[in-house]
Amino acid sequence: MPYIPHTEADTQKMLDTIGVKSIDDLFIEIPDNLRVKGQLNVPSAKDEAQLFQHCRDLAERNVDLSRTTCFLGAGIYDRFSPATVGAVISRGEFLTAYTPYQPEASQGYLQTIYEFQSMIAELYGMDVANASMYDGTTSLAEAAIMATYVNKRKKVYVSGAIHPHAREVLNTYCWAMDVEVVEIRTQDGVTKDYSIVKDDAACVLLQTPNFFGCIEDMAVARDAARANGALFIVSADPVAFGLLKPPGDFDADIVVGEGQPLGLPMGFGGPLLGLFACKKEYVRLIPGRIVGRTVDGEGRSGFTMTLRTREQDIRREKATSNICTNEALMALASTVHMSALGKNGIRQVAESTVRNTQYAIQKLKETGCHLKYDQKVFCEFVLSLPKSAVGARDALLEKGILAGLPMGGRYLGDENDLLVAVTELRTRAQIDEFASALKEVLN
């Protein structure tokens, strides 16, 4: 039996202590008609060598982006992550711990969470960050629901340029809570029609850089929120804010984001890391866990989960959210990543991204394609091709290049639109190769 250590002698002694004859006797309360008869219809057990081979074979059926040049982004980015991240999060003391309900035996994790909160709050220019949410999309939905608690309004105004998946999750959460979602229309790749925001607005939600890669004007969105007594919520790519003025400088009430670019693998989209930060006046309404610093009986500094009465295990149906488990290990990964980068590293990564992106724009324009939107961008842009983006993407994949996301259908664009992302990992040679391969494919 893998992982189950009982010898026959142990089992017998244990049964004797309990006072029963067999393990079956311990299941007498399960009605006989509900017992599984015989074996389940699943494959036979595999030994460890077989497990590895089987999984390796499955993994090899995927196109491995460590060997294919990736220009696909759309919320999940192929970014550099130092080896230190994996080394730390694979330590059993972290990997196999539970939620730090016993702070005396969990000081290591609690301190890393405090450091995580501090770094995220600093990045976004906010007072307080929580210990993490599931992912960027649920974090955004939770922010919208939190706004409805703050001002007791049931209508959410959201930019038409947020990630379509985030919009779908928002719709699902709001439907369940009977909250109406109203879209603010875009023009030329940025959010425009703020005039529809009315004084029934719980919040105005903006993503920047938005789904098209364009940098939004946070001041305009904020003014629309303020004029109507609504909260201003920003969904913000963390790496972009290594250079851009943070949402806190624009008086954002809540800032959320997807933390994957801060040291997490793409991993087919999971696990991810939801970032959540807000102004201190809303701290009692924050969903999820928060770690604070305090002292013990002898005055020694220590960390513990705090403001616990917001949470589901205490406040039950009146809790600020139903979230319990969060993404602690991914938050730890990003804490290591942020510590490794530091003040200079995050700037360097963001700057390299901008340089590579601008170079790619220049080279790709030379292929006969054009930029769909003439806006400021950070690492991503919409390229309009003279023909089908799906066809071009598939042809380029044959040449070892994943060109981006075709936007026709579900992704807010036309058949010929391709969403291209360029990170700090791309090189001049890769970008040149992309441009020349694209040119070939288009001709």
Binding site: R284, R308, T309, I314, R315, K318
Partner: protein, 126 residues
């Protein structure tokens, strides 16, 4: 447990002090000791109308939240602003500095239904 004789009490551990048509309300010594260190008190705005047995606020310790129930109907005249910064007054001085709201009673007759100190003390012994 301290149960002052001149106050009235509820089953949900609020105390009530009646002066004319004004009732001052807080939580009892027993209630604060069960809660442990009080860290936050959420009180209504002055001017709000409350119905009998309506939840008018909450009191929080580190690991519990208790609702506060209105022992009498009326309008909230005043709330204890000191509790916003000194919530521990609920622990240290539950019957004076730890008072929570003053209500102008709309039906002073409701006070007759409240428990006496003796009755409340007896209920704690059960």
């Amino acid at each position: 447990m301290n149960v002052p004789a001149d106050l009235k009490y509820t089953k949900s551990h609020e105390w009530v002090k009646i002066e004319g048509d004004v009732a001052t309300i807080g939580i009892t010594d027993h209630a604060q000791s069960e809660l442990g260190d009080v860290v936050f008190v959420d009180l209504p705005e002055a001017g709000r109308a409350v119905a009998l047995d309506e939840t008018f606020g909450t009191v929080e310790s580190v690991k519990t939240v208790s609702d506060l129930y209105a022992p009498l109907a009326g309008e909230v005249m005043e709330v204890n602003g000191d509790l916003a910064t000194d919530s521990e007054l609920v622990n240290s001085d539950p019957y004076a500095g730890g008072w929570m709201v003053k209500i102008k009673m709309s039906d002073p007759g409701q006070a007759d239904a409240l428990m006496s100190a003796d009755a409340y003390s007896a209920s704690l012994d059960d």
